[in-house]
């Protein structure tokens, strides 16, 4: 029995931000991330008949996205392989005997735990956001996440400033309540 339906017309509204965030924490390039997300939607559309409805739509899309990200890195790496890498061995007595790998370790690299925790937090925020009424979610996204000016949002959505603040207030209260259990 398949209890998950698929509806490509809603993909962008429902999942693009979530997928985009998933991607950007892995490729660190906005344009590239956007392309990968779009590729994912197009690929998903092509293989729609393979969707069995066992997983949720979002899980299914993420699994396609993962393949896309891996493919992206394969492409990048095969280009890198063509360039010659030269490493100068320095003969300072202090570092003598150290393995080469130890010398190139990146101390500023994020640990796996950091990335994982941020992923989970991002996921929690998007889950809560998707529970809000559409209008509230949209305003909250523009104001709190994109950080747009009040006037810009008012013009774009055709609402008054006081209207905007009422929506923001409701959204913030709901978001706080939703995130409270696990993240406060």
């Amino acid at each position: 029995m398949s209890n998950h339906q698929i509806n490509p017309n809603k993909w962008i509204d429902l999942y693009s931000d979530y997928l985009f965030n998933y991607t950007i924490s892995r490729v660190n390039d906005r344009d590239m991330a956007q392309d990968l997300v779009q590729d994912t939607f197009l690929a998903a559309l092509k293989s729609m008949k393979n969707f069995k409805g066992e997983a949720s739509e979002r899980t299914w899309l993420i699994s396609i996205l993962k393949r896309k990200i891996i493919d992206h890195y394969r492409k990048v790496n095969s280009n890198k392989g063509k360039a010659e890498v030269r490493i100068t061995y320095n003969d300072e007595s202090e570092t003598e005997g150290d393995w080469l790998e130890e010398r190139v370790a990146d101390p500023f690299d994020k640990t796996a735990e950091d990335t994982m925790q941020n992923d989970e937090l991002g996921e929690a925020i998007f889950n809560c956001l998707s529970k809000l009424p559409e209008k509230q979610a949209e305003v909250f996204r523009m104001k709190a996440i994109e950080g747009l000016e009040t006037e810009v949002i008012c013009n774009e959505l055709n609402i008054t400033a006081s209207n905007l603040w009422v929506i923001i207030h409701r959204a913030r209260t709901a978001m706080a309540a939703c995130l409270k259990e696990n993240w406060f």
């Binding site: 962008i12 693009s16 985009f20 965030n21 559309l45 104001k143 709190a144 996440i145 913030r172 406060f184």
Partner: protein, 88 residues
């Protein structure tokens, strides 16, 4: 007295200033009035604490969103692809 400077906020006004402050839209005077209100109002103090936490958590998560233009462009492209698959 209309000439008296208003120092006391009502709770809904205080919450409004608190929301504005989280988005860096509140003036200094508004923030002073908010803090005066918070001294004696327990409920608003609670709301303010939660509100600050929410802002912190969003900042910490460093989530980013696609802007509207990007999404519309993506939608157009996807719509076209959907129509193509339907006709095939």
């Amino acid at each position: 007295m209309s000439t008296k400077i208003k120092l006391m906020l009502k709770c809904d006004e205080a919450n409004h200033v608190c929301d504005k402050a989280q988005h860096k839209d509140a003036s200094l005077w508004e923030k002073i009035k908010l803090h005066v209100h918070l001294v004696y109002c327990n409920a608003c103090r609670k709301y303010t604490i939660n509100n600050i936490k929410l802002s912190k958590i969003i900042k910490k998560s460093r989530i980013e969103c696609l802007d509207k233009k990007c999404k519309e462009k993506m939608k157009l492209e996807l719509d076209r692809a959907i129509k193509e698959t339907e006709t095939n």
